[in-house]
Every structure is written in structure tokens, then in C-alpha cells.
């Protein structure tokens, strides 16, 4: 039953994608909408059914559906692992994807590539589902690359816009770096475990904990640490962690529904999901847990800071996404995988909500994304105003929104953690809470309050589209309420929603410690005034209010006084400059060298032309032998015969 349902869940979006892609012209725009959204909805309800069967009733499925290839002693299988983690991810993915499909009807109206857009989006959903349902690394990698490919296609959806084409390339290339680590990790697993099946790999791991590998001579590394860090490099690329985050801001060149679906709710969380899925692996290596935590926490603060100086409404939310992904990774590093996944779910709701609300603003403003040209939109876009506010509150972790529960749990978990770097990470995340609240409310106040700065033509046409409001409302509800109802079963109950799908060793089990102090969802809200993160968030909101509404002149003061910080932030810590200087220019230089020296001189002049010239030269020498006179030939023949004679005798 579970198997059949999950096949339906996975394959229906593929079917929708194929129909919209191949028969898009024939069925028309309306037909493409109907087909894809209908199939997505069916798939969503099947996902809900799986959620009931697996999470609530405790069923599960792990098996091979199809053997793709057999090579020597190992098989490459396509199979499903449907446990509670997968079931929860399926529901999240299908929920957001279905809503974004509906939203896109309004957002993409009048765009020439409408069917193509729906084809890509359904195709993305398929790849994402393949990723979460995988029961082996190969299929995981397939989904991983599949979502990367569709992300590339969708960032460059408006391919005639140069910034979009460049952005899509950047996303693709930066992801290659991460995927390089990822595939090395998979290769190491295959090498040491002889199998790619999760179950087999995890059962063989304990025997590997003493095995070491010398990457550099005389420095033995635990093989599990090496594998974990390689896999985490993949997660860094996909989940935009420092220093592989540079592609995510560029991905904002794509249509906004894509930013909501791919670059906020689902694809970028694939890294978080993967680390949680590999929890039995990461738990065995405290070094890699520390790496995960420190990278995550650093990103959570530093990437959030970048949003301070950003004036593009979508990019503000993009930086926020990177920062929140940092939170999730930090939770994973603290072995609070449940909290990471919980934040993934709530983040999927409120970040998709924020993006879609921003999309609604952008459409109303006629594709104007600059916050400096907005202002006082609350008068014209009331529903967007309220839903954006809910999203912003959830992002800032203000009780009782969903984000409050998940983010608080993460900060608390990191505080309880005892591995190396936990103290540092705790402070990063805490300051990050202030930063988060500040930048999102700065954007919020700039867009929806303050004086109207748009031109008259835009102002007259400001209005909301009902088909885009429905998804906003649908997402606002879980953003607001999900936390209260889900926090206990998700984090503290045993067995909780995630059941046995996550392994945590007792010495790292911070959530169990927190569970003993958990007073219940309502009391958590009441007690929030006693916790630091709450006050940090609140002060962030208040500071945003002061600097944007109360004393806008203060900005100018800060800009003048702290211009070097501003310059640093505008330059995004120089990652782009460094990448451009080192990698892009270096690659150009190297290709120049290979072109001029390697290709033109060695290959063309030396080998291709050179072989021709060599033949000419040797033959002009040999031609001297061919005099055409019989007596010359006879002489050579006799000399040859004599030579043979001598050779045969001696």
C-alpha cells in the first residue's frame, strides 16, 4: 500500500511535467495548468495518506523496485525508503509545490513560456521526491542532480535576460564544486562499504569507526570523518553554506515562484535533509558534527548580515534563506536533527510565504523589486501586507508563530551541546536572531510603511490578484499555527513524528535533555520573556522600526561613520571578488595558456601540421634514393643481398 502510494506521489508530477512539456502547445496554457495542478493535488493527497500510514500508524517501506544495472558484485537499484522522515518531507514538498503551482497561474500570466514553466516545476517536484524517497546513494544523487538541473533551467527561465543567464550558470557551476565533494563521498562509501544501500551502509559503519585513511602522508584521518565532510561539502553547495553560498543571491533572477519553491522551501533544504538522513554516519564522527555546526552557525550570522545593505526585496529574503539554512545545519551539528527538520518544515512554510508575498508585491509594482521605490503598500495590498507580516514574525521567531518554536529549539539545542565549537555557535546564532529580525522588518517597513516612493503610473495600478492571495493565506496558516501543535510530537515526544528514522548517540542527545525541561507549547510561549533569543529578536524588530520609521536619518549617520562595514557588506565579504579574481580569471589565464601553448603550438603546429611537415621532409630525403636508374637499383639490391649474407652467417 505504502509502496503503491509513494509510486503515485513520485510519478504523477513526472507525468504532469511530460504532458506540459511535450503536449504544451496542443493542450494550451489553461490545459497545462489544469493537468499539472490536478496531478500535483492528487499526489499531495497521496502524500498525506502516506503521512498517516507511516507517521501516525507507524508503517514503513524499504525495498528495491527496479534494478537499474549490475556491475560485478554490486547492484545499482532504484528503490524507496519510506519512513517518517521521508513521509514528512514528502508532505512538505508536495504542500509547497502544489501551492506554488497555483500561485504561478497568477504570477506567470501572459508570459510566453507558461507551459515550459509548469513543465519545469512539475519536473522539479519529481526530482525532489526522488531525492527524499531514495533508499540508496545513487538515487539520492540522481535526485540531487535533477533538482540542480531544474534549478538551473528555472533561474535562467527568462534566458533572454543576460543577468538571468549568467545567474543560472553561476548556480550550476558553484553547485558542481559541492557535487564534486558529494560524489567523492559516495565513491568512498562504495569503496569501504561495498554497497550504496542506506541500510547496508549504516549497518557496516560501526566496523569502520577505527579505519583510517591518509590523504596527506603521515596524517591518518578517520574514514568516517572523511566521508562525512565530503558529503557535507555537497550539502554546502546545495544548501548555500559558506563559502559555497555565492550562487543563491544570483538565483533570484528566476521567477519568484521558483525562488519560493526551489530556493527557499525545498531544494536548498536538500542538504539539511541529507545530513539528517545520514545521521547514523555523522553521529560517529564528532569532528564532522563540529564542522557542520560551525559552518552552519557562521553562515547563519554572516550571511544574514549581508541583508542589511540589500535593497532588492527578493535578495533580502534570499540572504535570509541562507541564514536560516545555517540555523538548520547548526541544529544538525548539535545532533538536534529533529530540530533541524522541524525548522526546515516551518521555514518552508514561512519562507515560501515571504517569497510569494514578495512576488505579489513585485507583480503589483510591475516587476519593480527595489525597496527604495516602494513604501506604504499596506494601503494598496492589504492581504499581502498581513501575510508578509505573519511571515516576517515567523522568521523573526516571535511567539506564537511556527518559527519561534523551531528556532528557539535550535538555539537551545546548540546551547546544550558539548562538542567543540558549540559555545561559539551559540553566540553566532543568538546574534543571528537579532540580525534576522532586523533585516526582515527593515524590508517590511520599507515596503509596506513609510512614504510612497513609487511613480504615479505604478501607484494607480497597484492591486492584488486573487489567485495569488489564496496561496498566501494557505501558507500563512501553518506559518502561524504549525509550531504550537507540532512542536511536542516533533521534538520532545518519544516516539515522535520522526520515529526511528534518525539516530542520535546518547552522549550527543541534547534534545532528550531539553525534553525533561519542556513545559508544553503554551507554557513555552508564556516563558519566552525569560529567554535570550526572544529579547534579541524583539530588539531587532525595534531597531528596524527606529532606523526605518522613527529616525531614518540614523541610516545616513551609520553609513558615514561605518562606511567600511557597509562596503564590506555590499561586497559580500569579497567572496565574489575573490572567486572572480582567482577562479574566473585563473581559469581564463589557464585556458589562454592551454589554447596558445597547448593547442596552437603543441597540437596544431607540432602534431597536426608537424606530422605533415615531417613526412614531407623525410620523403624528400628518401626521394634521393629513387633515381630511376636500373643500375642504382641493382647496386642496392646486391648490397642488400650481401648485407643479408653477412647477417645470416654471423
Amino acid at each position: 500500500m505504502i509502496e503503491k502510494l509513494s509510486l503515485l506521489v513520485v510519478l504523477l508530477p513526472l507525468l504532469g511535467s511530460l504532458i506540459a512539456g511535450f503536449f504544451g502547445k496542443r493542450i494550451g496554457i489553461r490545459g497545462a495548468h489544469t493537468v499539472t495542478i490536478l496531478l500535483m493535488s492528487i499526489s499531495f493527497f497521496c502524500a498525506l495518506a502516506i503521512f498517516k500510514l507511516v507517521v501516525l500508524d507507524g508503517g514503513s517501506f524499504d525495498g528495491t523496485l527496479y534494478t537499474w544495472a549490475v556491475s560485478g558484485s554490486f547492484q545499482l537499484d532504484i528503490g524507496f525508503l519510506i519512513d517518517s522522515l521521508t513521509a514528512i518531507m514528502m508532505v512538505v514538498v508536495m504542500f509547497v509545490a502544489t501551492i506554488v503551482h497555483i500561485y504561478s497561474i497568477g504570477y506567470m500570466k501572459g508570459d510566453a513560456g507558461d507551459q515550459r514553466f509548469f513543465c519545469y516545476m512539475s519536473g522539479f517536484t519529481f526530482a525532489m521526491l526522488m531525492l527524499v524517497t531514495a533508499n540508496n546513494f545513487l538515487q539520492l544523487f540522481f535526485g540531487w542532480e535533477g533538482v540542480g538541473l531544474v534549478s538551473y533551467l528555472l533561474i535562467g527561465f527568462w534566458y533572454d535576460k543576460e543577468s538571468a543567464a549568467v545567474g543560472s550558470l553561476k548556480a550550476f557551476i558553484v553547485n558542481r564544486v559541492g557535487d564534486f565533494g558529494f560524489i567523492l563521498g559516495i565513491a568512498a562509501i562504495l569503496d569501504y562499504c561495498g554497497s550504496l544501500d542506506y541500510a547496508t551502509v549504516f549497518s557496516k559503519l560501526s566496523s569502520l569507526s577505527q579505519t583510517t585513511i591518509s590523504i596527506f602522508p603521515h596524517h591518518p584521518w578517520s574514514i568516517i570523518t572523511v566521508i562525512c565532510i565530503l558529503l557535507f561539502i555537497g550539502a554546502m553547495g546545495k544548501s548555500a553554506q559558506m563559502p559555497l553560498h555565492v550562487w543563491l543571491p544570483e538565483s533570484m533572477e528566476g521567477p519568484t515562484p521558483i525562488s519560493a519553491l526551489i530556493h527557499a522551501a525545498t531544494m536548498v533544504t536538500a542538504g539539511v535533509f541529507m545530513v539528517a538522513r545520514m545521521s547514523p554516519l555523522f553521529e560517529l564522527s564528532s569532528v564532522s558534527l563540529s564542522v557542520v555546526m560551525i559552518v552552519g552557525a557562521t553562515g547563519a550570522l554572516m550571511l544574514g548580515l549581508l541583508a542589511f545593505v540589500e535593497n532588492d526585496i527578493k535578495r533580502v529574503i534570499a540572504y535570509s534563506t541562507m541564514s536560516q539554512l545555517g540555523y538548520m545545519m547548526a541544529a544538525n551539528g548539535a545532533s538536534a536533527f529533529h530540530a533541524g527538520i522541524f525548522h526546515l518544515i516551518t521555514h518552508a512554510c514561512f519562507k515560501a510565504l515571504l517569497f510569494l508575498a514578495a512576488g505579489s508585491v513585485i507583480i503589483a509594482m510591475h516587476h519593480e523589486q527595489d525597496l527604495r521605490k516602494m513604501g506604504n503598500l499596506k494601503k494598496y495590498l492589504p492581504v499581502t501586507y498581513i501575510t508578509f507580516l505573519i511571515g516576517a514574525l515567523a522568521l523573526s521567531a516571535v511567539p506564537p508563530t511556527a518559527g519561534f518554536f523551531s528556532k528557539d529549539a535550535i538555539i537551545d539545542a546548540v546551547r546544550h551541546s558539548t562538542i567543540i565549537g558549540a559555545q561559539y555557535s551559540y553566540w553566532m546564532l543568538l546574534i543571528g536572531a537579532f540580525v534576522t529580525a532586523y533585516y526582515i522588518f527593515r524590508a517590511f517597513f520599507m515596503a509596506f510603511h513609510t512614504a510612497e516612493r513609487m511613480d504615479e503610473h505604478t501607484r494607480v495600478h497597484l492591486k492584488e490578484h486573487w489567485i495569488m492571495l489564496l496561496p498566501l493565506i494557505l501558507l500563512a496558516i501553518p506559518s502561524l499555527l504549525l509550531g504550537i501543535f507540532v512542536v511536542k510530537p516533533m521534538l520532545y515526544a518519544s516516539p515522535g513524528f520522526l520515529g526511528k528514522s534518525i539516530t542520535v548517540l546518547p552522549q550527543y542527545n541534547v534534545l532528550a535533555q531539553m525534553a525533561t525541561q519542556f513545559p508544553g507549547a503554551w507554557n513555552t510561549i508564556k516563558n519566552c520573556v525569560h529567554t535570550l533569543p526572544f529579547w534579541f529578536s524583539l530588539s531587532g524588530i525595534v531597531s528596524a522600526w527606529i532606523t526605518v520609521i522613527l529616525l531614518p536619518k540614523m541610516n545616513g549617520f551609520f553609513y558615514r561613520r561605518l562606511s567600511w562595514i557597509r562596503d564590506l557588506l555590499v561586497a559580500q565579504y569579497g567572496f565574489d571578488i575573490f572567486n572572480h579574481w582567482f577562479f574566473t580569471r585563473g581559469t581564463l589565464k589557464m585556458s589562454e595558456f592551454f589554447f596558445h601553448t597547448g593547442d596552437l603550438k603543441v597540437l596544431d603546429a607540432g602534431m597536426v601540421d608537424g606530422s605533415g611537415r615531417g613526412v614531407t621532409r623525410i620523403s624528400s630525403l628518401l626521394r634521393k634514393l629513387q633515381s630511376g636508374y636500373l643500375y642504382h637499383y641493382a647496386l642496392i639490391m646486391i648490397v642488400g643481398l650481401l648485407g643479408f649474407l653477412v647477417w645470416m652467417i654471423y
Binding site: 633515381s627 636500373l630 643500375y631 641493382a634
Partner: protein
């Protein structure tokens, strides 16, 4: 009884003469063919001498074959020569160097 060595010396002299004739002859292609015939005869002399020395008639049988082949070769060579003369109007070895590449 004439010793074997004498036969061989005669053969070698004949062979050497014909060889030199081939190498240094620059004028007449008929001379060239005669030298080749002479070379074959030198070989024949050797065959006969060894046949007698080892009392093995196979050598003498070989000589008959070689003579036949030499006659055939001379006939074909002369035929070619006639054609060549008709075409180029000359039988000088120096002029026939169209074989060169």
C-alpha cells in the same frame, strides 16, 4: 678430375663480371640483359659443380629449369625492349629513368 674450387672460382668470376657489367653499363639495355643472362649462367655453373661433387642429379635438373626461365625471360625482356624502342626511340639505360618518384 678438376677440383670443385676451380669451378667455383670460374662461377664467381662470371658473376662478378656480370655484376660489374650491370653497375657500370650506362649505354645499352641489351648489354644489361646479357649481363643478367651471364649471372644466371654463373649460378648454373655452381649448380653443376655441386651436383657433380655431391653426386646428386637434382642440381643438374635445376639447371634445366633455370635455362628455361632464362630463355623465357630473355624473350619477354626483348619484347619489352622492342616496345620501349618504339615508344622512346632509344635503348639507352641513361634515358630510362621514368621510374623515379
Amino acid at each position: 678430375m678438376i677440383p670443385l674450387v676451380n669451378y667455383l672460382i670460374v662461377g664467381a668470376i662470371l658473376f662478378g663480371l656480370s655484376f660489374v657489367g650491370i653497375i657500370i653499363n650506362r649505354r645499352n639495355i641489351i648489354m644489361l640483359m646479357m649481363c643478367i643472362e651471364l649471372m644466371l649462367l654463373a649460378v648454373n655453373t655452381n649448380f653443376i659443380a655441386f651436383a657433380q661433387y655431391f653426386a646428386d642429379p637434382a642440381g643438374e635438373v635445376f639447371v634445366f629449369f633455370i635455362l628455361t626461365v632464362a630463355a623465357v625471360e630473355a624473350a619477354i625482356g626483348l619484347a619489352i625492349l622492342v616496345l620501349l624502342y618504339r615508344r622512346t626511340g632509344s635503348i639507352g639505360v641513361r634515358e630510362i629513368n621514368v621510374l623515379k618518384g
